[in-house]
Amino acid sequence: MATHESHKKRSGLMDWLTTVDHKKIGILYLLAGGFFFLIGGLEAILMRIQLMEPDSKIFTGELYNQLLTMHGTTMIFLAAMPIIFGFMNAILPLQIGARDVAFPYVNAVGFWLFFFGGLLLNLSWFLGGAPEAGWTAYAPLSTVAEDTGVDFYVLGLQIAGAGTLAGGINFLVTVINMRAPGMTFMRMPLFTWASFVTSGLILFAFPALTVGFFLLMFERVFDANFFNPDMGGNVLIWEHIFWIFGHPEVYILILPAFGIISEVVSTFSSKRLFGYSAMVFATVLIGFLGFMVWVHHMFTVGLGPVANSIFAVATMAIAIPTGVKIFNWIFTMWGGQIRFTTAMLFAVGFIPTFVMGGVTGVMLSVPAADYQYHDSYFVVAHFHYVIVGGLILGLFSGLYYWYPRMFNRVLNETLGKWNFWLFFIGFHLTFFPQHWLGLMGMPRRVYTYMSGQQLDGANFVSTIGAILMGLGTIVLLINIIISASSKHAASKDPWDGRTLEWAMPVPTPEYNFAQTPLVRGLDALYVEKAAGNGEMTPAEPVGEIHMPNGSILPFFLSLGMFVAGFGFIYSNWIVAIVGLGGVLVTMFLRSVIDDHGYHIHKEEVEADIKGGRA
């Protein structure tokens, strides 16, 4: 029962650099991911400006290749995944009634590794040029590239990927071990379920990427020959390894969006989710099947009809659990008291858009047809329909839905609707014509096209759409600035929520629940509301709350990796050793310094409860 008085409250910048609080780390992920999202979006608009007119010469050749590589890499690894992690951090522990994630320190390490990895990758713009081998970095294109761009890609993503892996493991342990009393697996909100399955996919898929990056790094930095056929290597190994990671990766991206949509649709239809157990099963099944379909990215490699057919059938099978989800969302809305808030608009817009992406996905999964579509704009249209039309709409929906919980302010609904319509119409204008561009033979990743091939009109429309999407995003930024400067704090439950994250006052106390809640059914908060209680029944008396201390070590550990990354990129071994030495020192310090955290006293918690702060 010893209290640890070593706890000192930090403030300002130092608080954010040292925080191990899942809510603050969630905000950090969201801010950093949002920043990279803007960079990736800018790169996309620059590409669309180049493609607006035929024979245009604004961003050509090498520079265009750099733009397309960095757009894809940034959006997948540095924007989409961190924003997902932001929501998982901010919301998942609240949804299961936990005080924090299982390993708060590791959580901070994960964030800072991602941040410094992303920073390293993006610094390539100023240090001799960004990578230009595509986000897939196929060998031998990536192994023979002379400049340091691909080195930045390998080292930057290796560091960021380590952070992601740490985060994934953390959430797995959190969900398994930290659920509140009564929160059985089949009572977990769908977002928590989706995050749980996603974390499992991260655990199994990211090691493949890590291995691939190590091989590529050894090939480039130490002249190894894994992918060099002249020396007994095989270029195909990279493609396989990349897609063994890469296909689960797209499910890592989309499953949390499915989770968000499930929460939003259920809340704003004022109905419990239709077919909850089928939804859970479909999520797990999609995660499982996601590992057996990677060859559909490689149909034209020439692996033979047997391999192609097996993977084609496996790919088509994924449409079944996905279809189950689509119908369950529709049935959830059916007969519900639907409120078309901005979050709900994004969710409703998501459903048909994602179906369109799914349908082109089934088209692409037919190997014979894929020979026609492969490497054309049809593929670009397909994966933007599932990633932007699926994932990004889902993330926007989640942002408007959870913003009051995360930032203590409600985003303006009028501006939100402008944001939705501009982005939604812009999105379809951008990518719908690209289906036809692809079918007419326009290849992807090529910086120009000739006039007189009937490609002009659709490309022009596509660029206009991209600008509309940019405007929609600017409206969101304005909305965020307005809400941040407004004095109106959000109420604790602005949407009449159904799940545990709406059961606490705003701002969320640092210990989340003053007393761990007792969960008595699916949609735990709704169960209590329906029973006339209005708030959660506590599962424990008010007591001391044990909290972890913040630490600056995760920041320096990641900084060490960042420095070491530069050492490897420029083959400067002194810098590399200094960086890795710094990593070891922080690890050593973490191991020898005994930090038991601190306690929030019972009296303080009681005062918080009395004052309406807990």
């Binding site: 797995l172 499992g200 199994f204 493949a208 063994i244 590992f291 057996m292 060859v295």
Partner: protein, 114 residues
């Protein structure tokens, strides 16, 4: 914690104590057996290669099989996977092994046999 039990129900506590001791004894026996077995398996694997008596292709399969047996000893006897509360580690490892096996098998099939 012990004195708490003593003051309330001494006989029940005694009974539990004996049961726990028996279980521990049983476990110690398992540990001893598996320890000897693991040393034996290692010696067998070593001799399979060192003696040069069996063909290389069979030797590889043979020592891999021995390795798998050792992994099970390790997981179940030394890391207590058979005890209660290990459902998640077992599920995690089993699905990991399944995915790895599918991946490696299809990779080998596609890269080196066609």
């Amino acid at each position: 914690m012990a004195d708490h039990h003593n003051t309330t129900e001494p006989t029940v506590h005694r009974h539990e104590e004996i049961q726990r001791k028996l279980a521990l004894k049983e476990e110690r026996k398992h540990h001893n057996v598996s320890f000897v077995m693991m040393i034996l398996l290692t010696i067998v694997a070593f001799f399979a290669i060192w003696s040069d008596k069996i063909s290389d292709s069979f030797a590889v399969i043979f020592i891999l099989t021995l390795a798998v047996v050792q992994v099970f000893f390790q997981l179940y006897i030394w890391m207590h996977l058979s005890h209660k509360g290990h459902d998640f580690p077992i599920w995690g490892m089993a699905s990991g092994v399944l995915i790895a096996a599918i991946t490696v098998a299809s990779l080998m099939g596609m890269i080196w046999t066609s």
